[in-house]
């Protein structure tokens, strides 16, 4: 792992920024004004892990950070090894310097009922609606309303703080995957078109504003494989086009480079030389051919990895590389990963 070093993307000049009152110095490309960090990526690329590591990084130096999940998977509870998160803010972990990471799992049905209560003071009839299947209707299948409710709830958490009432310095959103992210973030706009009047429409305006402001950045998590890279490049393009600010590209599980250029002599590496070296190491020399073949195949993968990394160059945002950690990943590993988001001082 140490061999990986602290990889900062090709575009990132390592800026040692002066922290805003207690905010840790983050890797360049994570804008200082950002209060809402949206983390997306192809499914299986390590979105939730990345979001959690980022939350811990942001919490350093005494910050309070809320991490929010919206897909009801209880992935945060598993990751932080705590009981299932209810629809309420719960302590997840402490961070160095008195910081804290708090978790929230937003349930769209409950969020909807919240709205009914907030806007109409009608929790009881909301329950009747729930029994009728109306809430299911609204939150599951009505056009993007589910996404509106979720982003609306996130916005509430971000802005409460600005009114000086609530407790979070930053909010990290473990968002839906790249394939759905534009739709998710634009749902508010869609609804503003569909529901042309009414409180949901008014609510939408505020969410659209926040998501398109400099207070919000979207980070893209990827693996150095064909599909995830393609999706990342596509999503970056779409998001930029849609007026969303990009943060960093986070590359997960990149395999370290052990083989030096030229060492394999284009696949004709000398078995005799390798055998000599293995003997010195006290390793069974019968394994020579297999180890040579394995090294050649490893390098073939590394070439693919490099080519995919090059394709990411099309997106001019900083890159952060996280090492692969042996599962299961827990709070200790997350804390280790959070180092990669912070600049050493």
């Amino acid at each position: 792992m140490a061999a990986l070093g602290r990889a900062v993307g090709v575009y990132a000049e390592v800026m040692v920024a002066v922290p805003r009152s207690g905010l840790p110095a983050l890797v360049a490309g994570i804008p200082r004004a950002a209060r809402l960090h949206i983390v997306t990526g192809k499914g299986g690329a390590g979105k939730t892990t990345t979001a959690a590591a980022l939350a811990i990084a942001l919490a350093r130096g005494g910050q309070r950070v809320l991490i929010v999940e919206v897909e009801g998977r209880q992935a945060l509870a598993r990751l932080f090894d705590v009981p299932e998160l209810p629809y309420a803010d719960r302590h997840l972990a402490a961070a160095p310097g008195g910081g804290e990471v708090v978790g929230l799992s937003i349930d769209p049905e409950e969020a909807f009922i919240d709205y009914l209560e907030l806007f109409y003071n009608m929790k009881r009839s909301a329950r009747i609606m729930q029994r009728m299947g109306a809430v299911d209707f609204v939150t599951t299948l009505a056009p993007g309303l589910r996404d509106v409710l979720l982003t609306g709830k996130v916005k509430e958490r971000v802005t409460l703080n600005e009114q000086g009432r609530s407790a979070y310095d930053c909010v990290v959103l473990d968002a839906p995957p790249t394939g759905r992210i534009r739709q998710f973030l634009d749902a508010t706009r869609e609804v503003a078109n569909l529901a042309r009047f009414g409180p949901i429409n008014r609510q939408s305006q505020g969410v659209v504003e926040l998501l398109h402001s400099e207070r919000t950045v979207v980070h893209l998590v990827t693996l150095l494989e064909e599909m995830p890279v393609q999706e990342t490049v596509d999503a970056a393009h779409e998001l930029t086009e849609g007026g969303f600010g990009l943060g960093a590209i986070v590359v997960n599980r990149a395999r370290p480079h052990y083989v030096r250029p030229g060492q394999l002599a284009d696949g004709r590496l000398s078995r005799a030389v390798l055998r000599r070296g293995l003997k010195l190491a006290g390793v069974d020399v019968d394994l020579t051919d297999e180890l040579a073949q394995q090294m050649i195949e490893y390098e073939a993968r590394q070439d693919v990895q490099r080519a995919n990394a090059d394709r990411l160059d099309a997106v001019a945002v900083p890159r952060i590389e996280l090492p692969e950690l042996a599962p299961p990943v827990g709070v200790g590993e997350l804390s280790e990963l959070s180092d990669y988001f912070v600049i050493d001082e």
Binding site: G44, E190, A281, D284
Partner: protein, 386 residues
């Protein structure tokens, strides 16, 4: 590496795809585990064993799609070139077009145009969570029961949409069906049919309050769009729920085989577990689990990650030479792969222990991505060899 396979019932792929009774194979699992590749490889192998096969893909990697001659969404099976001794057809699902076709097939042109123009329909058909799953099922149903005059397929291989959760594939169609066919939406549709005013009178107090709330929240326009949409739909076909249930029943018939796909990672295997339990619980025909991308270190378990690492460290302390440096690199590479292999094996063992009756295939990781028929053929061989 081989430890997990010892105790397991192996999944005999060639018997499954070669059996004329197998009509539908569904590959399912969470995103990024190689579902599409597995589906394509099975389809190619079946085709080359002489069965007239079609593979329905949802969202394939660009180069994989190109390798099968798929360049755009076009909703019609196209014959794949380069198949030896057999016929393979492939298609990519176009969700919106499938929905449009369903509407067009069941209404007059005039009515269909009305529906197409409805903003609610536009949103529903192009962007709803659940619509993709529903349309994948719809398309499967069309392929399984071709219109008169069209030849039947020997085998249909279906890839499922990359869902948030593998279970969405089973649930979404019924949910959409329930929604479009449900009590609530009928209530919403009522004003369009009853002319508005009468509707309010009929309702009880709480109903009135509720509909007022819905109107307030969603805005009156949306409600009117929904009402118009549902009213025009209702007249023309026998209920969405019924169609969804029909496909669901089709999936339960013995001619169907579900293959759950996973990678040796905790999240993917957890999803696979949920899916397996669900399939078993609903008496759906589960064929087995494919675990893709297992790391196979050189020499099997003859050199452990720990010993390789220690040997590499030992070389690191020596004066540099070609032999020392090359062997150190080889040992570091080995330690990396052997450790990954040990983790994989632990993951698979965990799954096997929890599901002792599920047949399993472990497919080793290939050095490069699969993006041509040769690669798919190789995957097919690996699937059959386990």
């Amino acid at each position: 590496m081989t430890a997990p396979r010892r105790r397991l019932a192996a999944l005999d792929v060639d018997r499954l795809i070669g059996d004329p009774a197998t009509r539908i194979i569904v590959t399912c699992g969470s995103g990024g585990v190689g579902k599409t590749t597995t589906a394509a490889a099975l389809a190619l192998r079946a085709a080359e064993s002489g069965r007239r096969t079609v593979v329905l893909t949802i969202d394939p990697a660009r180069r994989l799609a190109q390798s099968m001659g798929l360049t755009e969404l076009d909703n019609t099976p196209r014959e794949v070139e380069g198949v030896a001794d057999g016929r393979l057809f492939a298609m990519m699902l176009d969700m919106k077009r499938t929905f449009d076709e369903v509407v067009a097939a069941h209404s007059t042109p005039e009515r269909a145009d009305q529906i197409f123009a409805n903003p609610f329909y536009q949103a529903l058909s192009s962007s709803f969570a659940g619509t993709q799953e529903y349309m994948a099922m719809e398309k499967l149903s069309q392929l399984a029961e071709p219109p008169p005059g069209n030849p039947e397929w020997d085998l249909i291989v279906v890839d499922t949409p990359p869902s948030r959760s593998a279970l969405d594939f089973l649930d979404a169609p019924q949910r959409l069906g329930r929604f479009l066919d449900g009590r609530f939406i009928r209530l919403l549709a009522a004003p369009a049919k009853a002319g508005g005013k009468a509707y309010v009178k009929v309702l009880s107090a709480s109903f009135g309050l509720m509909s007022k709330a819905v109107t307030k929240i969603l805005g009156g326009e949306l409600l009117r769009d929904v009402s118009a949409f549902v009213a025009s739909l209702e007249a023309m076909f026998g209920g969405f729920r019924e169609r969804a249930e029909h496909t669901y029943r089709l999936l339960k018939t013995p001619g169907t085989a579900f293959i759950v796909v996973a990678s040796p990672e905790p999240d993917a295997l957890r999803e696979a577990s949920y899916f397996v339990e669900r399939l078993v619980g609903e008496q759906m025909p589960l064929a087995g689990l494919v675990v893709n991308r297992l790391h196979r270190p050189a020499g099997g378990d003859r050199l452990s990650a720990r010993r390789a690492e220690a040997a590499a460290d030992k070389l690191g302390d020596r004066a540099s030479s070609d032999a020392v440096d090359l062997a150190e690199a080889a040992l570091r590479v080995h330690a990396e792969i052997a450790e990954a292999g040990e983790n994989d094996a632990r993951m698979v063992r965990g799954f096997a222990a929890a599901h002792p009756d599920v047949a399993l295939i472990a497919v080793p990781a290939l050095p490069t991505d699969v993006h041509d028929l040769t690669g798919l053929r190789l995957i097919g061989e690996l699937l059959a060899a386990s």
